[in-house]
Structure formats: structure tokens, C-alpha cells
């Protein structure tokens, strides 16, 4: 029987998708709209139990387009909101994901990646949606995408995703993969006081002075909530600082530049990267998601063989952590990027590299995970030649 109890700190054996749902509740999520899709369905199932217990709302919409619309509406009315899906559903969400970007509506979109394109491999893992997360919706826009590697991280990064969305008034994508989503691990859940919870900044000026899209020193304007006295216009059209549609060049450019600036000036806060034994390494693995686990094991085994291998694990994929990768290229360390696609992050690494060092790739798209031995074989091949 499913446990009906609310999230509690302590040690438990849970699944990645369940931990994500619990992270959402812990972060203060009180609205979920979604549509069933493998391998993400445990997230809505879990939240359909928890949300009504805490006076939140769970609703199963008619499709993913509607789910995305509903979470934006709920966020504008003041609720922290989320949806969860997988590849085909993520494709449908792209339309309103762009709306959340331009109208600066905080929300969290979980994509538990499965094999694609199209219906693809519903029950098999892949990491093929990395570029879709970045560029899936039309038009030039910044985005934040996080990628957990463990069940605990499904919990903590979900909280982070909510925090970033509230702080920067932007949609945040949590790119999980099927392995992390369905894996069960022992998790030591932190006490509520042990993690930070960020809530959106609301306007404090009198309503008649309120400019909903005004530039601030932080780059993010305080957000008026429907029904709280700050009546303003929300639109997907390019708008001026009052929220009204504009076609004036100077207003268009300053608005779009601010959208980029609010993310690009806070990379210190947004980019989460973990480095293992990188300093003395001759070869550094750059990995994310479930592949980072295999990469870690490969690193440990390579070290046992006397090979100087390090690992840089990316928890933030977008904005791409360039400032962490660039020093590795300058230090002339060989880089190996194993990933379950044909080279979506290695492409970014190569873009950063600019010919300073060698960037190797290890790609797998057969619906199975990349095993440590496969990475180790590639390391040996490179370092023992």
C-alpha cells in the first residue's frame, strides 16, 4: 500500500520520482497540473496524494499543453506550481514554456528523459532532451535546467528549481532521466530547516506606482499577484515596463536584454558543479545525470590503476557552466564526455574548448545506460596508448 504520510525527515528507501514529488512539497509547491506519461507518472501519483493533504491542488489536465497553461495561471494567482512529463509531453509544453519565459512566470517543469525521437523508448533511459530544454521553445530566451544524479538530488534539486524560479521569475526545467527517476536508494532526508526556501518578491509600492516589468538592480521586478490589489496586464506579446504590448525598438531590446541579464549576472548562484580529483588529473570526465554515477565509478577504478582521472559533474546544464569547464581546457587536461545521446553536452564543451585541448566523446543511444567499464575502457584506450 502506498504511504499517505507527508514528507518527513529521516532515512528512507525511496525512488527518484517520489523524492522529486517530496521535494516539491518541501519547496512549497501547492499546485500541480499534469498528464500521465511514462516514466514520470510516479510524480503526479505521489502529488495527488500529498497536495490535497496540505490544501494544495492536484489536477490531471487533458494534455501537456493544458498542464503547462494551468501551472502558469496558478503561479500568477500566487501558488508555487509544477508539472512533470517526459519527451513527447515536453514537446507539447514548449509553447507555453516560452510564455512563462516572456511573461516571467515562476514555475517548474520536470522532464524525466526517455529514448526518442517521438514516442521512442517509453521505458528506456536517454539524455536526448538536453538541447530541447535549452532551445525547445521558439525565440531567443535564457533558461535554467538542472540535472540530478541521485535520488537525494531529485529531492534537493527540485527545491533548488523552485528557488531559482521564484528568485529569477523564470521557468526552471528539471531534467531527470529514466534511471534516476526509477532508481531506489537510501536517502537521508534533511530537516526542513536545513535547506533554503526562496519565495518570490512581491511589490511593496502603492498599486498606482507599480510597474510590473520595471528593471531593477537585481534584474528581476517584484511580482504582483492576481487579487492582491496590483492589477496589471500579463501577455505573451513583447511588452513595455507596464506590461502593455509594444512595437518600439528601444523598448523591445531593453526588455529582451534584461531577460538574458537577469540570468547571466547570477551564474555564481545558478551554476552547480561538483569536481572530484580534478586538480592533478590528466583526463577529466564531464558527466551529468545517471551517467555521472558510472563516470564516478570509472574514475575510482582508473585511479586504482594509477591513471590520473578526475570528474566534473554538472548539476546545472543551462546556463552551461562555461566558467568551470574553461579552466580545464586552459590547463590542457584531456576531456571525456560520456552521455546518452549523440553529443549534446560535448558540443558545448567543444564550443568552450576552442582547440586548447582534446575533447573526447562516448555516446550511447541503444536504450541502455553507459556502464563504468565502458567509460574505463575508453579511458584506458586514451591514456595507455
Amino acid at each position: 500500500m502506498k504511504t499517505l504520510k507527508k514528507t518527513e525527515p529521516g532515512i528512507r528507501l525511496v525512488q527518484g520520482n517520489e523524492a522529486c514529488a517530496e521535494g516539491a512539497i518541501a519547496a512549497g509547491c501547492r499546485f500541480f497540473a499534469g498528464y500521465p506519461i511514462t516514466p514520470s507518472s510516479e510524480i503526479p501519483e505521489r502529488l495527488s496524494i500529498h497536495l490535497p493533504q496540505v490544501d494544495g491542488v492536484f489536477i490531471q489536465m487533458e494534455d501537456e499543453i493544458a498542464s503547462m497553461g494551468a501551472i502558469i495561471g496558478a503561479s500568477l494567482a500566487g501558488a508555487k506550481s509544477m508539472t512533470a512529463t517526459s519527451g513527447p509531453g515536453f514537446s507539447l509544453m514548449q509553447e507555453n514554456l516560452g510564455y512563462a519565459c516572456i511573461a516571467e512566470v515562476p514555475c517548474v517543469v520536470v522532464n524525466v528523459m526517455r529514448g526518442g525521437p517521438s514516442t521512442g523508448l517509453p521505458t528506456y533511459p536517454a539524455q536526448g532532451d538536453v538541447m530541447q530544454a535549452r532551445w525547445g521553445t521558439h525565440g531567443d530566451h535564457p533558461i535554467i535546467a538542472l540535472c540530478p544524479s541521485s535520488v537525494l538530488e531529485c529531492f534537493t534539486l527540485t527545491i533548488k528549481a523552485f528557488n531559482y524560479s521564484e528568485k529569477y521569475r523564470t521557468p526552471v526545467i528539471l531534467l531527470m532521466d529514466e534511471v534516476v527517476g526509477h532508481m531506489r536508494e537510501k536517502v537521508v532526508f534533511p530537516e526542513p530547516g536545513q535547506y533554503e526556501i526562496v519565495d518570490r518578491v512581491k511589490p511593496s509600492v502603492p498599486p498606482e506606482w507599480y510597474l510590473p516589468y520595471e528593471d531593477t538592480s537585481f534584474g528581476v521586478s517584484p511580482m504582483g499577484i492576481f487579487g492582491e490589489g496590483y492589477r496589471y496586464h500579463v501577455t505573451g506579446l513583447t511588452h513595455d515596463i507596464r506590461g502593455f504590448p509594444t512595437l518600439r525598438q528601444e523598448e523591445i531590446e531593453s526588455f529582451l536584454l534584461r531577460l538574458f541579464r537577469k540570468i547571466s549576472t547570477h551564474l555564481d548562484d545558478i551554476q552547480i558543479v561538483e569536481s572530484y580529483q580534478v586538480d592533478d588529473a590528466d583526463l577529466v570526465l564531464i558527466a551529468y545525470g545517471c551517467v555521472a554515477r558510472s563516470a564516478h565509478r570509472a574514475m575510482v577504478e582508473a585511479r586504482a590503476e594509477g591513471l590520473k582521472v578526475g570528474l566534473m559533474r554538472l548539476a546545472t546544464l543551462w546556463p552551461f557552466p562555461r566558467r568551470f569547464v574553461e579552466p580545464l581546457t586552459k590547463a590542457k587536461k584531456t576531456l571525456l564526455v560520456p552521455e546518452m545521446n549523440m553529443g549534446q553536452i560535448s558540443r558545448e564543451v567543444k564550443r568552450v574548448n576552442q582547440g586548447m585541448t582534446t575533447v573526447l566523446t562516448l555516446n550511447k543511444i541503444d536504450g541502455t545506460i553507459i556502464y563504468p567499464k565502458e567509460i574505463l575502457a575508453k579511458i584506458r584506450e586514451e591514456m595507455k596508448k
Binding site: 499517505l4 497553461g69 494567482a77 487579487g227 492589477r231
Partner: protein, 297 residues
């Protein structure tokens, strides 16, 4: 309606640059007037009204009025409205859509919103054509009529919006025209008072495209057409199908009561909390029993 001017003025956004986007003679402004009068009569405050719209000429309506206004993506207005209403049930959420917006790209959302019976009022302005994009045929363009994408006449049968709403589960479905403006005021007022999903279809003219392409004359002649072809529901019941062939009904087509989604969802919350307290009571009982056992040992 000179006497309405101070009233309309009270609700307009004066810091928004006018003029508006609509062609002179368009019916959308008449609908906006009706909506404002209905809201004013029901004494809603500006803060509790959320006006949600999609894309198209009709989608531009909310920007001119001083409520919480939300101009969403094409066809998706009802989905955004669903989120707003569920997150803050105290708000009065009104959704304004065009015919293509509501029944083509947003058709799925429309029938599901009706089925769910969430407390929303959907007002659909039906001008039989896509106006903003230049006069392409919509799901409500009558069979045989011309459009810029149907220069030989459309061969698709059209949707009856109010009937569709009723069949999909709307507890209130009505049809009015921008000619019968007093009736329209009443219909919108009634729809706003319903505790559930209410729909008002508003027949309007697009003389710029539909009228021009089909040689129906200017806005005045198109409004005369509305006057001559609209039959009150009660009268229509007494007429034969032949007599009704080129006519349409106006008035209230569906008016019934059913528990709204919010009422139903509150039951879910109640059950969830009961299940939780039951389980934690059971858990603590088991815990104390096992403690007793260990004490005895």
C-alpha cells in the same frame, strides 16, 4: 448608449495608449460594453475580476480594461484560467475567446473545461472567421461561405458553439448577438452568477473580412442580418425546422445545476486529510503496542 459613458470610463485603462486595434464597426467593443455593465451591476470589485483571453482580435479585449488581465497563447486561455481559479477560488475568472480560438486550436480545452464544470465564465465571440490573420475560414464559417483560404467556398460543416458547450457538460449555455445588446447584458450577467462552467456565445460581425468576402455589406447591414435571423429560444420551439433553416436561436439554451469542480475538489481534500489522520493514528497505535511488547520482554 450615451448614459453608459461614465460607467465605461470608470473601467478603462487610461494609461494604455488608445486607439484600440479593432476596425470601426467591429462588434467586440459592443461585447466589452456588455461585459462591463454586467460586472458593474453585479458589484464585483476590480481586484477580484481576472479577465483571461487567447489570441486574435477578441484576445486583445482585456488589455483595455482595469482588471487583472491575462492575454495567453492561442486557444489556451481556458487552461490558464483553470490554474488561476483553482489556485485562488475567490477570484471571478472570465475567459474571452474568439470562435477559432475556442473551438479550433482550443477545442479540446473547451470541451474538457465544460466537462470539469469549474467555476469559469467563457464568452465566445463568434464572427465566423479568423479576423486578425486576414480572413481565413474557421470552424464556425457556415458551409459554402468564402474566406481567404476558401475562395471556392468552405466545404466543412460548422460548429454550433452553444450546443457544443451544453453537450460537453456546461451548466449554462446561451447565445446572443451584438445587435441584441440588452439581451447580451442579461445573458452575461446570468452566466457570471452561475456556480460552474457557463458559456455565452456572441454572434458578431466581421465586415472587414467575412462581410467583404461574402458580399454581406457593411457593419450596419450585417447587424440587420443579425436582427432578422435571430429567433428567441421560446419562439424557435414553435417553429418548424424548415422555418428555422437559415435562422439561429438566441437566449438561454441550457441552464441547470450541478456541483462545481471546486465543491468536488474540496471533498478530495477532506478525504485526503481523513486518510492521513487515520493512518497516523494507526501508526502511533502500532508503535505503542510494539513498545508494550518490548517492555514485557
Amino acid at each position: 448608449m450615451i448614459e453608459d459613458r461614465p460607467l465605461i470610463y470608470k473601467y478603462l485603462r487610461h494609461d494604455k495608449k488608445f486607439p484600440h486595434v479593432w476596425c470601426p464597426g467591429c462588434g467586440i467593443g459592443i461585447l466589452l460594453g456588455s461585459l462591463i455593465r454586467a460586472i458593474d451591476r453585479l458589484e464585483y470589485t476590480k481586484d477580484e475580476i481576472v479577465l483571461v483571453s487567447g489570441i486574435g482580435c477578441t484576445g486583445r479585449l482585456p488589455v483595455y480594461v482595469d482588471f487583472n488581465t491575462l492575454h495567453t497563447t492561442h486557444g489556451r486561455a481556458l487552461t490558464f484560467a483553470t490554474g488561476v481559479k483553482l489556485a485562488k477560488p475567490d477570484l471571478k475568472v472570465i475567459v474571452i475567446m474568439g470562435d477559432g480560438d475556442a473551438t479550433a486550436i482550443g477545442g479540446n480545452h473547451f470541451i474538457h473545461a465544460a466537462r470539469r464544470n469549474l467555476d469559469l465564465t467563457a464568452i465566445i465571440l463568434n464572427n465566423s472567421i479568423y479576423g486578425m490573420t486576414g480572413g481565413q475560414y474557421s470552424p464556425t464559417t457556415p458551409y459554402g461561405q468564402k474566406a481567404t483560404t476558401a475562395v471556392y467556398g468552405t466545404v466543412e460543416p460548422s460548429f454550433n458553439i452553444a450546443q457544443l458547450a451544453g453537450c460537453a457538460g456546461a451548466i449554462f449555455a446561451a447565445r446572443g448577438t451584438v445587435y441584441h445588446v440588452r439581451l447580451l447584458d442579461t445573458l452575461i450577467e446570468k452566466a457570471l452568477q452561475k456556480n460552474g462552467f457557463g458559456v455565452v456565445e456572441v454572434i458578431s460581425q466581421c465586415h472587414t473580412h467575412f462581410g467583404r468576402l461574402n458580399k454581406l455589406g457593411n457593419q450596419v447591414e450585417m447587424m440587420k442580418w443579425q436582427r432578422d435571423h435571430a429567433i428567441p429560444v421560446e419562439k424557435a420551439k414553435k417553429m418548424t425546422p424548415e422555418e428555422m433553416a437559415d435562422k439561429f436561436e438566441i437566449g438561454i439554451l441550457v441552464d441547470r445545476e450541478a456541483p462545481s469542480y471546486l465543491e468536488e475538489y474540496n471533498k478530495v481534500r477532506q478525504r485526503a486529510k481523513e486518510a492521513l489522520s487515520l493512518q497516523s493514528a494507526k501508526g502511533s497505535k502500532e508503535e505503542s503496542e510494539s513498545r508494550e511488547v518490548s517492555d514485557k520482554q
